[in-house]
């Protein structure tokens, strides 16, 4: 028998071929054999056989994570009760690239399955995927590209990491292309720490490049701003990553990886409607937002609260972009630019809505 490794492969509704955002509430379901990236994996690695593919919808998992995990473990249990030769050896999930919901799904499933069934698990993500922070300590995450262009490379890395783990080989983050767990490992060095530190200091003094042995973690945290003291007098602005734009999307904000944000007037508007506004976001089912954009960026009730005196006044414009695979660097840039505009207009409080 040439097949050595039996794999369970986890995918979202999209990569599993069930559908797009219309199937994002798909409950966990097990399918025989390989689908989507699993087919590529079997082609690249003849030693690997996909025993089953588990598919779960992005929204289903992200909105009811705990319950969905229990369901998934329940669906997988019979596979581990099979005869020895038929038991799965490893679980692969993703690659999730820069997709936030999919990243959370892959990370959570990998951690839970390893803990529950004691088999190795591997996923792959873009290093800036928000799920990386949450799961890198406990889950083996291969470095993947930002989008599906990096599919083959990511699938290869996941498979190599899986096989190495099954063969009991040692893994190292740089060499094996995964995101460090943040663990330290003892080894025998030729020079003592004191000598190495002085060497580094001399290199630093000479302006030469050197590599630290202990990189400091980067925590990009912001001190919470003081609360609004006088809400009844405050000017409130709204910002959204949910893609609510005037009908026709005048600035042509992209449905994914947005390259800009828009500033849109609220003059004379008491509420959004499907006739005046729409969503430009390509990362969720637009049906509900297009029927009533107040569901993503509320204006109707905000106007009501304004007239009731719950806050001072609503700023005359709102700011919108699409948060769908948008890079952190771009989001920071839009945030900085929006902050400047808000300060210039004397805004004192912001509600930022995301889907």
């Amino acid at each position: 028998m040439s097949t050595k490794y039996r794999v369970i492969y986890c995918l979202n509704q999209f990569f599993g071929g069930l559908g797009g955002e219309d199937k994002a509430y798909q409950p966990p379901q097990l399918f025989d054999g390989a689908r989507g990236p699993g087919i590529l994996l079997e082609k690249l690695f003849p030693d690997i056989q996909i025993a089953a593919t588990l598919i779960v919808g992005d929204n289903y998992f992200a909105e009811k994570t705990e319950a969905a995990l229990r369901e998934i473990l329940g669906v997988l249990t019979p596979l581990f009760e099979a005869q020895d030769d038929d038991k799965p050896h490893v679980l692969l999930a993703g690659p999730a690239f820069n997709a936030g919901r999919y990243g959370l799904t892959c990370g959570a499933i990998c951690r839970a399955v390893r803990e529950c069934f004691a088999i190795p698990t591997v996923t792959a993500m873009y290093p800036q995927n928000p799920a990386v922070e949450e799961y890198k300590k406990d889950v083996l995450i291969a470095r993947a590209g930002e989008d599906v262009m990096g599919m083959e490379e990511a699938v290869r890395s996941m498979a190599v990491l899986a096989i190495k783990q099954l063969q009991g080989e040692e893994l190292l983050p740089d060499r094996d292309g995964y995101i460090p767990h943040g663990q330290r490992k003892n080894y025998f060095a030729e020079k003592t720490g004191a000598v190495r530190a002085v060497d580094m200091l001399l290199q630093k003094l000479a302006g030469e490049p050197f590599v630290t042995e202990y990189p400091m973690p980067v925590f990009d945290r912001v001190q919470p701003a003081p609360p609004v003291r006088d809400m009844a007098g405050a000017r409130l602005a709204r910002v959204t990553s949910g893609g609510i734009v005037p009908r026709g999307n005048p600035d042509k904000i992209e449905a994914a990886s947005a390259s800009r944000f828009g500033v849109y007037s609220l003059q004379g508007l008491s509420a959004f409607s499907g006739e005046t506004h729409q969503t430009a976001h390509g990362g969720y089912d637009p049906t509900f937002a297009n029927a009533d954009p107040n569901r993503v960026l509320p204006l109707d009730v905000v106007r009501e609260l304004e007239s009731e005196g719950a806050f001072g006044s609503l700023h005359g414009s709102y700011y919108a972009t699409v948060g769908n695979g948008t890079s952190v660097a771009n989001a920071e840039k839009y945030g900085c630019e929006i902050a400047k505009l808000l300060l210039a207009d004397g805004v004192q409080a912001v509600i930022l809505t995301s889907t």
Binding site: E21, A24, N59, A62, E63, T65, R101, L104, P130, A131, E134, D220, R221, V222, P224, A225, P226, P227, V228, M231, L236, V239, S241, G242, Y284, D285, P286, F288, A289, A291, D292, N294, R295, V296, P298, D300, V301, E304, L305, A310, T321, A331, E332, Y334, G335, C336, I338, A339, K340, L342, L343, V347, Q348, A349, V350, I351, L352, T353, S354, T355
Partner: protein, 75 residues
């Protein structure tokens, strides 16, 4: 975006449906909302009920903006 606006000194409340993402990215005031495709609405409810839920969520967001915090807080 929340962080950059807050860095400029303006308090921001992040109203979103996937709280774990908001937490790892580092928003300070977080208000969980209803569902990913309709954070401030629920098409299964009557329009009146839906609007009532929406208004309550916005009121909660305003309360969060007026609340002193010294660390990340989910309201």
């Amino acid at each position: 975006m929340s962080k950059q606006i807050e860095r400029a000194g303006i308090p921001v409340v992040h109203a979103c449906s996937i709280v774990p993402i908001s937490k790892t990215v580092g928003a300070n005031r977080i208000v969980p909302t209803i569902a990913i495709p309709h954070p401030f609405g629920d098409p299964d409810k009557s329009p009146e009920q839906e609007k009532k839920m929406r208004k309550e969520l916005v009121q909660k967001a305003l309360r969060a903006l007026a609340t002193p915090i010294d660390q990340q807080t989910v309201f």
